[in-house]
């Protein structure tokens, strides 16, 4: 019988890969349905029914549909609490509060400059678009300040929310993966020893390695 959980969207999308990493950590079976964005599939009525903002990922589990990758990840952790990585979203209210705080920090402080850099350094060259040098400089400056805070935090704790790997760390995987493969972006992470140590740990998790594999184009 086909898995009831369906994720819609291309795995090269950072938001889609965030959800995939979470599902793999929680050992939840799922079907991945591609959405052909170059053909505008994400703006068609059938897709808008499950994601009214016309963005990826969209997500279905039995009778409901959800959107927003971090909200989907929280849902997966709560619905499938007793399987896979049980501590991914914490097991006590205090743990959850700390994870939520660093998830918000990722969304509010880390994501904007890192997303700009992912587009400029990883996507724009592949799309043959001219890079915006000023935006790259500004985004690097902003991201550097955020990573200074992370480096200090990761000098006190093993992972962002505490001593265990959680959703807060996972949420950083997609953007950082692209930046570590871009010549200019890598240095921001490798030059900060605690951040570098943290990245090596979180990116070597089996779940993330599987997502990275899913993003590779099929070999000819």
């Amino acid at each position: 019988m086909a898995a009831p959980v369906k994720v819609y969207g291309p795995p090269i999308s950072t938001a889609v890969s965030r959800v995939l990493a979470c599902l793999l950590e929680k050992e939840v079976d799922f079907q991945l349905r591609n959405v052909n964005m170059s053909r505008g599939e994400h703006k068609k009525p059938d897709f808008l029914k499950i994601q009214p903002f016309g963005q990826v990922p969209a997500f279905e589990d039995e009778s409901i549909s959800l959107f927003e990758s971090r909200a989907i990840s929280r849902y997966v952790c709560e619905k499938y609490a007793n399987q896979g990585n049980k501590g991914l979203y914490g097991t006590t209210p205090l743990e959850k509060a700390s994870i939520d705080q660093w998830l918000e920090a990722e969304g509010q402080s880390f994501n904007p400059p890192s997303s700009s850099l992912v587009f400029q350094l990883a996507f724009a060259p592949r799309m043959k678009l001219k890079q915006d040098e000023q935006l790259i400089r500004q985004s690097k400056d902003k991201l550097a300040k955020v990573l200074d805070i992370y480096d200090s935090r990761l000098g006190q704790t093993q992972f962002l929310a505490g001593e265990d790997f959680t959703l807060a760390d996972l949420s950083h995987l997609p953007n950082t993966q692209y930046l570590m493969n871009a010549t200019d972006g890598k240095e921001l992470f490798t030059s900060r020893s605690n951040v570098a140590r943290w990245w090596a740990e979180i990116s070597s998790r089996d779940s993330w390695k599987k997502v990275v594999d899913m993003r590779k184009p099929p070999s000819s």
Binding site: L66, K79, P93, K96, S98, D100, Q101, E104, V146, I149
Partner: protein
């Protein structure tokens, strides 16, 4: 035992968000005003509470939490009011709430914040409003509100059948926008209009407004 503390600035939308959550849950707390103009939030002791140098920060015993939406989630999870919870225990229903909290964050707030900056902050501080930008942001906000209108046709609140965090989190920006010409987006969207009126008249929000008004004196 010492009461909980909220460090913040009444003029900050993020602080307002945390305040209304505290009032909704009838929690005793002490408000510690932080002088943003003097840069207090970027210095110690604030930096040891929030290394990002921002407000609000919520402190309850040993627990210190920053980021307004994390504070909001934490309060509704740790201090639910029986019968008036802001969260659903059932994962699917809570998943829907979580989705709409992020919609406010990623779809509504960026536009509403820019409009607030252009139409409220700039005039107050003698700066010229960029009308072309306002027109662009207003048009985009209209599209977002169209999606809200569809959702509210079938659901009393964005998050579901009871007033949850996903609706509460809109209050600060809605309050400001209603004092600008952007309020003209609402009457043509009857469900959004009704929803807006209802949540803005909640007693907890009125307490926050009172704090804002007193601070202007």
């Amino acid at each position: 035992m010492a009461a909980a503390k909220l460090y913040g600035a009444v003029e900050s939308a993020e602080t307002m968000r945390a305040l209304v959550s505290l009032y909704e849950h009838d929690l005793e707390f002490e408000f510690i005003p932080i002088d943003l103009k003097a840069g207090e939030h970027k210095r110690q002791p604030c930096l040891s509470l929030n290394p990002f140098g921002e407000v609000p920060v919520f402190q309850d015993g040993d627990m210190v939490i920053f980021e307004s939406r994390a504070i909001m989630r934490c309060i509704s999870f740790i201090y639910p009011k029986p019968g008036k919870e802001h969260i659903f225990m059932e994962p699917k229903m809570q998943g829907i709430v979580a989705g709409w909290i992020d919609v406010e964050d990623h779809q509504f707030d960026p536009l509403a914040s820019k409009l607030r900056w252009e139409l409220v902050y700039k005039p107050k501080n003698g700066l010229a409003t960029d009308e072309a930008l306002v027109a662009k942001m207003e048009a985009k906000l209209g599209l977002v509100l169209d999606i809200y209108e569809k959702r509210l046709e079938h659901s009393k609140y964005l998050g579901g059948c009871k007033f949850p965090s996903a609706d509460l989190t809109h209050l600060p920006n809605l309050y400001y926008l209603m004092g600008t010409k952007v309020k003209r987006l609402f009457p043509s969207r009857p469900h959004v209009s009704t929803w807006c009126d209802e949540i803005l008249s909640r007693p907890s929000w009125k307490k926050v407004v009172e704090m804002i008004e007193m601070a202007q004196l």
